[in-house]
Amino acid sequence: MNRKTLLNVGVPLLSLVLLLLLWQGIVVVFHVAPYIAPRPMAAIRSVTDNWSTLWPLVLGTIRETVYGFACGAVLGLTLGAVMAKVGFLQRLVYPVLVLSQAVPTIALAAPLVLILGFGVGPKVVIVAWIVFFPVAVNVLDGLSHVDQDLVNLARVYGAPRWRTFVHIEVPASATPIFTGLKIGATYAVGGAIIGEFLGSEGASLAIFQEHANANFNTAAVYGTTMLMTVIGISWFLLVIGLETLATPWQRRSVARRYRWRR
């Protein structure tokens, strides 16, 4: 591992450790009662001790997040692109986008459960609802700010509009597109958990936490919250990894190899 990776991975890990130490320090120094806040190790142990119960629930939350994120991302990318290309549709759709985000997510969940039941459906819709907005807005912004000289150059070549879109406008918007996806990824797990709180067919992470709370198992309450956070961070990191793979020119000066070379 070279110095740069050490800095990129080591320093964020250090901030995590410092955060846990701060937590530990506050609990110890102020004599916080264990039923108010456990020590970090107790919270972590409550997760590892219940791992066989928690693991399927974690998978359930991940599934809701993945489905919802995929739907939201596709919807956001499509809406952003359509709005960028058709001015009339932008004026027509944009207010609805803003309106959709003004609806409190928690108030959205109840009618969704009425419509879609207690299955995976409402969770996916809530996640997609949260994810599509930052994606659509950033795609619209990116596509609207592509260097017009570059677009004109393509026109001078006699390029059809779809080729210009695919080979110039989309890659030129890579940074804002991934910004939208990263913001969406950060909130996606939160959406899935809100959906779970309102009711699930079987067990779920949110319901597990409610039970722990009802049983005064404070360590498990905190542990579950940590677990949810870890899922959220992992999902964010996965999108970052995807961005790194998709935009090699932002870090490298020489292409790794020729692609599609015969």
């Binding site: 001078v156 070549y157 000066s253």
Partner: protein, 241 residues
Amino acid sequence: MGKTFGETAALAPVTLDVADGSFVAVVGPSGCGKSTLFNVIAGLLEPDEGEVRVAGVDVTGTTGHVGYMLQKDLLVPWRTVEDNITMAARLTRGVTPEDRAEARRVASGYGLGEFLRHYPSALSGGMRQRVALMRTLVTHQPLLLLDEPFGALDAQTRLEMQQWLLQVWRETGRTVLFITHDVDESIFLSDRILVMSPRPGRVVADLGNDLPRPRDLGTLVEPQFVTLKARIMSLLHEDLS
């Protein structure tokens, strides 16, 4: 080929015939409509009156018939040098193995063979403009429109690029229309110089330039060069005052 067109406000009616294989410089201060003239020829703008003909064919208001290069190199940062050179093929019909082979051949021939896999961010300003000119060359358009392509380069690099452009022009036999506000550059490169004046842009002089070729640094101090320069300077200043 012949071109007759006019665009009011930005560009007064201008009639211009450019001979096949010639190198014509267009010199004038900013705001004299040089770029408007180019954009009309390239088909990005429709003229209010008149027409544009390339090799006898009316191409007014249509695109896809010229090579085009600006002061901004317009290389895309997400493509390697090789993939930037083949950009026109990618944008019009898809890149073939022949396109790739040609890109490699051209880049190697003009000293960038080792940078084919580099991204543009790794190149200097002069190298980037070389790649931009190669991208323009492989479109195989007989008419090249170059709009101040070396305007952002330092004096030393610019001189190297001018000599390189003359070499490319000699070897490929293209017709070049070259916009600049640098009087020295216009004389050093061209067979013919159009002097333009602003508001509305119009051609105030059409000067032949038969300085012997090949040209080198010595050309810049020849009496004929200096006479031509004095003539152009007085035309430009007369109009600015």
